[in-house]
C-alpha cells in the first residue's frame, strides 16, 4: 500500500480533464455513447500524418480489443508468432466486451492516462475518433510498415477513408447473411435457397408460418434485436427500394423520405399485421439456432457459433434484393484497427508493423477460420477457409455485391443508437412509422449540426 496523497495531486489540467469526462459520462447516459467533446488536431486540411523517417519501432506496444468473434486465442497465437519474428511484444488487452465499452474506456483513458497504442474500431466509432483527433492518419505509417493498400479488399479498405487520408485498416470484417433452417424450408416445400427478393420472401413466409405446428418454429423470420444494431442490416432493405438513410457520400439526411417510411411500414406490417415476423427479444442468432425462427439475417461473424450450436442443417444465402435494386444491397460491417494519436512515434511505428502482420494474407485466413470473419486481403488462399467453415463461400461471393454504409449511420455520433430506439418503437410498440421517422430525422440532424458540422467545415 504505497499511497502518498499529494505527491501528484489534482492539478488544473487534470481537473479540466475531469470536467470533460463528466460531460462524457452525462452523454453516455443520454445516448448510449460518448459524444465528441473536443477537436484535437483540427480539420482535414491541416492534418499531417506523422513523419517516421529515422524512427525505430518500439519493443513493446499495447493492443486494446474486445475480441470480436471470440478471437482472443487466435489473436494471441498470431501475436506470439509476431513477437518471435520481430522481438516486438504486443500486450493483448481485453478492454471491454463490445465496441461501445471499448470506446468508453478509450475516452476515459484519454483523460486519465493509459491510452493504448493500437485499438479496435467499429464502423460507427472510428469517425468519432477522427473528429476528436485521437487516432493518426495512417498513410505514412502504412508506407513505413511496408503495407500495400492495393492488396486489401477495396470496399473494406475504403470504408476508412475520409478527407484524403486513411484512418484505419480493416481487420475483423463481416457482411450480413441470410440464414435459413433447411428442415423448415423442406417442410414448407420451398426450394433449397435463400429468397432472391423480399417480394419473394413475403410469399414464402406465410407458408413457413402455416407449418409452424410441425416445425416447432414460432416465426418465419426474426428481425435484428435492439442489442445488435438493427439499422445496420435494415439499410439493405432501404437500398433495395432505392432509398437510403442519407444521400450517397454526404450528410444530407433522407430518413423521413416516403420510400424509407414505406420500407419500415412493411417491416411493421410483417410483425403486427401478417404476424410471420418478430423483432428478436435478445438475440436472433440464438433463436435461429434453437429453431424458434425459420430464418433470420446476421453477421458472418456469428456463423461459426451458430454452426456449433444448431442441430439442424443451416442454409445461407445473399441478402435478398428489393423491387428497384437487386444488388448491391449488402452492407459491410465489423471492425478495423487504428493507432492512437497520444502514443509515441516509436510505438506507432511498431503498431503499424503489427497491423501489417496481423492482416497479412496468411493471418487474415487463420483469423477467418477461427472466427467466421472474412479475409481482408485479395490475394488469399480461401481453400482452407472454405474447408474450415463451409458457409463462408456465400459471403465471399457476396463481397462483390457490397455497398459502403450510409454516412447518417456510421459518421454521426449517437445516430446508430437513436436509430435503434426508433426501429424498436416501430417494431415492438407499433409506433406510427411516419411520425417516428420524422422525429428520428430531427434527432440525427441535431446530432450532426452540433457535433459534426462545426468540426468538418
Amino acid at each position: 500500500m504505497t499511497f502518498r496523497p499529494g505527491v501528484r495531486g489534482l492539478d488544473r489540467r487534470a481537473f479540466l480533464g475531469l470536467t470533460g469526462a463528466v460531460g462524457v459520462g452525462a452523454a453516455v447516459t443520454a445516448c448510449g455513447g460518448p459524444i465528441v467533446t473536443k477537436n484535437g488536431s483540427g480539420t482535414s486540411s491541416t492534418i499531417k500524418p506523422p513523419d517516421f523517417s529515422g524512427v525505430k519501432p518500439a519493443s513493446k506496444i499495447t493492443f486494446w480489443t474486445d475480441n470480436p468473434g471470440s478471437s482472443q486465442q487466435v489473436t494471441q497465437q498470431i501475436i506470439d508468432k509476431f513477437t518471435a519474428q520481430t522481438k516486438i511484444q504486443v500486450e493483448l488487452v481485453t478492454a471491454g466486451s463490445n465496441y461501445d465499452q471499448i470506446a468508453q474506456k478509450f475516452q476515459t483513458a484519454r483523460v486519465g492516462g493509459g491510452v493504448p497504442d493500437l485499438i479496435v474500431l467499429s464502423d460507427v466509432w472510428w469517425f468519432r475518433y477522427y473528429l476528436q483527433g485521437s487516432i493518426i492518419p495512417l498513410d505514412t505509417a502504412l508506407t513505413a510498415a511496408g503495407i500495400d493498400p492495393d492488396d486489401y479488399v477495396p470496399t473494406f479498405f475504403n470504408d476508412y477513408r475520409y478527407g484524403g487520408h486513411q484512418w484505419a485498416v480493416p481487420w475483423a470484417r463481416s457482411t450480413p447473411l441470410f440464414y435459413y433452417n433447411k428442415n423448415h424450408w423442406r417442410t414448407a416445400g420451398l426450394p433449397d435457397r435463400a429468397p432472391m427478393t423480399w417480394e419473394e420472401f413475403s410469399e414464402w413466409a406465410p407458408r413457413l408460418q402455416s407449418v409452424t405446428g410441425r416445425t416447432g418454429a414460432q416465426h418465419a423470420f426474426e428481425y435484428t434485436s435492439s442489442v445488435n444494431t438493427p439499422a445496420w442490416v435494415d439499410q439493405s432493405m432501404l437500398w433495395g427500394e432505392g432509398a437510403a438513410l442519407s444521400a450517397a457520400d454526404s450528410f444530407k439526411l433522407t430518413i423521413d423520405a416516403p420510400e424509407v417510411v414505406s420500407v419500415f411500414q412493411r417491416i411493421q406490417d410483417n410483425i403486427r399485421v401478417h404476424k410471420w415476423a418478430i423483432m428478436a427479444g435478445s438475440n436472433e442468432a440464438n433463436d435461429f439456432s434453437a429453431g424458434a425462427a425459420s430464418a433470420t439475417w446476421g453477421s458472418t461473424g456469428s456463423s461459426v457459433g451458430i454452426q456449433k450450436t444448431a442441430t439442424f442443417e443451416i442454409g445461407v444465402g445473399f441478402l435478398p434484393g428489393g423491387s428497384k435494386v437487386r444488388q448491391p444491397v449488402c452492407p459491410t460491417g465489423g471492425a478495423g484497427l487504428g493507432i492512437a494519436a497520444q502514443s509515441s512515434p516509436a510505438k506507432q511505428l511498431a503498431a503499424a508493423k503489427f497491423i501489417a502482420y496481423l492482416t497479412n494474407a496468411e493471418n487474415t485466413v487463420t483469423f477467418g477460420e477461427a472466427t467466421g470473419y472474412l479475409p481482408v486481403r485479395t490475394k488469399v488462399d480461401t481453400a482452407a477457409l472454405r474447408k474450415a467453415n463451409p458457409l463462408v463461400g456465400t459471403p465471399l461471393e457476396q463481397l462483390a455485391r457490397t455497398r459502403s454504409q450510409d454516412w447518417a449511420r456510421v459518421f454521426i455520433p449517437g445516430a446508430d443508437t437513436a436509430m435503434t430506439q426508433s426501429i424498436t418503437q416501430i417494431c415492438n410498440s407499433g409506433a406510427d412509422v411516419h411520425k417516428t421517422l420524422t422525429q428520428l430525422q430531427e434527432t440525427v440532424q441535431g446530432l450532426y449540426t452540433r457535433q459534426v458540422e462545426p468540426k468538418i467545415s
Binding site: 500500500m1 499511497f3 502518498r4 496523497p5 501528484r8 495531486g9 489534482l10 492539478d11 487534470a14 480533464g17 475531469l18 469526462a21 463528466v22 459520462g25 474486445d66 475480441n67 470480436p68 468473434g69 471470440s70 482472443q72 486465442q73 500486450e91 493483448l92 488487452v93 481485453t94 478492454a95 471491454g96 466486451s97 463490445n98 465496441y99 474506456k105 476515459t108 483513458a109 483523460v111 486519465g112 492516462g113 493509459g114 493504448p116 463481416s174 445488435n228 438475440n283 436472433e284 442468432a285 440464438n286 439456432s289 434453437a290 429453431g291 424458434a292 446476421g298 453477421s299 461473424g301 456469428s302 461459426v304 457459433g305 451458430i306 456449433k308 450450436t309 444448431a310 442441430t311 472466427t371
Partner: protein, 290 residues
C-alpha cells in the same frame, strides 16, 4: 396454515404445543423462497455441464444428456483463472480486513470515547451511507489515475475502504452493550485498546461476522470499480475477467462457457457463507431470552 390460525382463538393451545405442531402447509413459503434463490443458481450449474444446443433450445432440458466439463475447459483456455482468483483473493482479503478493522475501531470511538462533535461526525457517516458509490466513480477514477493507481492492487482497494455500513451497524450494536461491562473493566484498569479487544469484540462476534460476510461478498462481487480501474488482464478480478468470455458477435455456442465461468465465481462466496453462517445464526438468537 390458515386452518391453524382460524382455529386458535376457539381452542387456545399453549405456545409450546403450537410451535411443535408442524403443518405441511408451512413448508410452502419456505420451499417457494428457497426455490426463487436456488433454482437460477442450479440452472446455471446444470447449464455449465450442457452442450450449447441444450442451452440454446426450445425444449426444456433438465438433465444434460452427456454432462461434460468441456465448458470449464474452454473457459480456462480463454481466461487465466488462477491469476484472476489470486487477484480477487488479494483484493477481497486486504480490502475486507481493513474495512472491518476500520468499522470496529470507528464504531468503538463513536460509542465509548467522549469527544466533541460526535453527533455531527456520525451524521456525516450516515450521509455517506446515502451516496451511491456509482456517483463517486468518475472523481475516484481521475483521482486514483492521477496518483498512478491504474492496474494496481491499491488502486482497486483504496476507494472502497471507507465503509459507512459497517460503522453504522456496529455502532448500533455497541450501543446495546450494557455499560456496566465496560465500567467494570475500566475499574480494573483496562485501557481503550484492552476494552476493545478483550470485551467489545468477543461479545460482538455475531455482529462482526455479519459485517464481515456482507463486506467479503460485496468486495468479491464488486464489478464496476475494478472494471474501470484495470485494463490489463493481469490485474483483473474474477467478475471483470468474466467479460472476457463474452463476445461482440452473437455467438450462441458460448453460453455453457459463460455459465461455467459464473459457477467458478460463485463457489468461493458459498464456502465463505457456509463458514460464517453458524456465527450469524448464533447471533440472531443470542440475547433473545434474558
Amino acid at each position: 396454515m390458515t386452518a391453524s390460525i382460524l382455529q386458535s382463538p376457539a381452542r387456545p393451545v399453549s405456545r409450546r404445543r403450537r410451535l411443535n405442531r408442524s403443518s405441511p402447509a408451512g413448508y410452502v413459503p419456505l420451499i417457494l423462497s428457497a426455490a426463487v434463490i436456488v433454482i437460477p443458481l442450479l440452472w446455471m450449474a446444470i447449464g455449465s455441464l450442457k452442450t450449447s444446443d441444450e442451452v440454446v433450445t426450445q425444449r426444456l432440458v433438465l438433465v444434460p444428456s452427456h454432462p461434460s466439463f468441456a465448458a470449464y475447459q474452454t473457459a480456462s483456455e480463454l481466461v487465466d483463472f488462477p491469476r484472476l482468483f489470486l487477484n480477487s483473493f488479494i483484493v477481497t482479503f486486504v480490502g475486507s480486513l481493513v474495512k472491518i478493522v476500520l468499522a470496529i475501531t470507528s464504531a468503538y470511538g463513536l460509542v465509548f470515547v467522549r469527544f466533541p462533535f460526535k453527533r455531527i461526525i456520525f451524521l456525516g457517516i450516515l450521509v455517506a451511507l446515502m451516496v451511491p458509490s456509482q456517483a463517486a466513480l468518475l472523481p475516484n477514477y481521475t483521482f486514483i489515475a492521477s496518483l498512478g493507481g491504474v492496474n494496481t492492487y491499491w488502486g482497486i482497494i483504496l476507494p472502497g475502504l471507507g465503509t459507512a455500513f459497517g460503522t453504522f451497524l456496529l455502532r448500533q450494536h455497541f450501543l446495546t452493550l450494557p455499560p456496566e461491562l465496560l465500567e467494570a473493566a475500566e475499574v480494573d484498569g483496562a485501557g481503550h485498546f484492552t476494552r476493545l479487544t478483550r470485551i467489545v469484540v468477543p461479545v460482538s462476534r455475531p455482529t462482526i461476522a455479519t459485517v464481515a460476510l456482507v463486506t467479503i461478498v460485496t468486495e468479491w462481487n464488486d464489478y464496476i470499480w475494478p472494471l474501470v480501474i484495470t485494463n490489463s488482464q493481469q490485474m483483473m478480478t474474477l467478475p471483470v475477467g468474466l467479460t472476457l468470455l463474452h463476445n461482440t458477435e452473437s455467438d450462441p455456442s458460448l453460453y455453457p462457457v459463460m455459465m461455467a465461468g459464473a459457477v467458478l465465481v460463485v463457489l468461493p462466496v458459498l464456502i465463505v457463507f457456509a463458514v460464517l453462517q453458524r456465527q450469524i445464526v448464533a447471533g440472531l438468537t443470542q440475547g433473545a431470552v434474558k
